[in-house]
């Protein structure tokens, strides 16, 4: 996460305390992806990581969010190149299918590694 994505920092996270040593760049939080960092987007990606492709409604129900929220967050993930959106039909009904791109899978994996490093202290 770069500074632009985390403008609020120093008061709560001083750079010279034990948890955040002066060598700030080495801290795992710098490996967090600002796009995936947002909880709903992380949840959407966690859901898609387990499947080859999932219908929009399935993701919405699994993550427990509204269609509008899901649509907005998926658009952000799609813009970042992490999620692929495919429109199709089942019979006459239009369906939207979501899947993770290889870049999305790699970014999620790196983000989870960083979270594990932070959680591990």
């Amino acid at each position: 996460v770069n500074d632009a994505a985390n403008p609020v920092s120093d008061a709560a996270h001083p750079t010279n305390d034990a948890a955040h040593p002066t060598n700030d760049a080495a801290h795992p939080r710098h490996r967090l992806d600002p796009v995936i960092h947002f909880p709903i987007r992380l949840s959407i990606m966690a859901c898609l990581a387990e499947v080859a492709e999932a219908e929009f409604g399935f993701v919405m129900d699994t993550v427990e969010i509204t269609a509008a929220t899901c649509s907005k967050q998926v658009t952000i993930l799609e813009t970042a190149g992490y999620v692929q959106v495919r429109k199709g039909y089942v019979g006459r009904r239009p369906r939207t299918w979501l899947s993770l791109t290889p870049a999305g899978r790699a970014a999620l994996s790196a983000h989870l590694d960083a979270l594990r490093a932070i959680a591990g202290g």
Binding site: L42, A46, V90
Partner: protein, 145 residues
């Protein structure tokens, strides 16, 4: 954890636990989808083998080309229907590669043997079809454990 904060260890643990919970839920659906895909393939093959046997037994030996055409149409319709049914579901997931390849290979052997020997021994069609179904059921179990 929000967009504009550095996560503490506790935030990170919460995020990981949420990922785990949603991942488990999605993985369960993915396993079901993969199992359905394999079972549907097995069912389609079973119907196709039995149907082919019926067509071969009910037509004369001289009608080779029309018979081949009808059997081809039967297989296309059966597999097209199975594919449409599977693709209409909300989740698509690929089953584990190795057990699926082994299942497909074993199934191909059984189908090949059945279709080769079947014209001389019609009883082999239902037996071969049952064996094909059994192969795919075992494959579905192994590939989605």
């Amino acid at each position: 954890m929000t967009d504009n904060s550095h996560p503490s260890a506790q935030d990170a643990e919460q995020a990981l636990s949420r990922v785990d919970m949603i991942g488990t839920r999605a993985a369960r659906s993915a396993r079901r989808a993969a199992r359905r895909y394999l079972l549907m393939t097995g069912a389609a093959l079973t119907v196709a083998v039995i149907g082919s046997g019926l067509i071969i037994q009910s037509t004369g030996a001289e009608a080779v080309w029309p018979r081949a055409l009808v059997i081809g149409v039967l297989w296309a319709v059966v597999f097209g229907s199975a594919l449409a049914l599977v693709n209409a579901r909300a989740v698509r997931a690929a089953p584990a590669r190795r057990p699926t390849v082994v299942t497909a290979a074993a199934s191909a052997l059984v189908v090949g043997a059945t279709m080769a020997v079947g014209p001389d021994a019609p009883l082999l069609y239902p037996i071969g079809a049952a064996a094909v179904a059994a192969v795919w059921v075992v494959g579905a179990v192994l590939a989605t454990r």
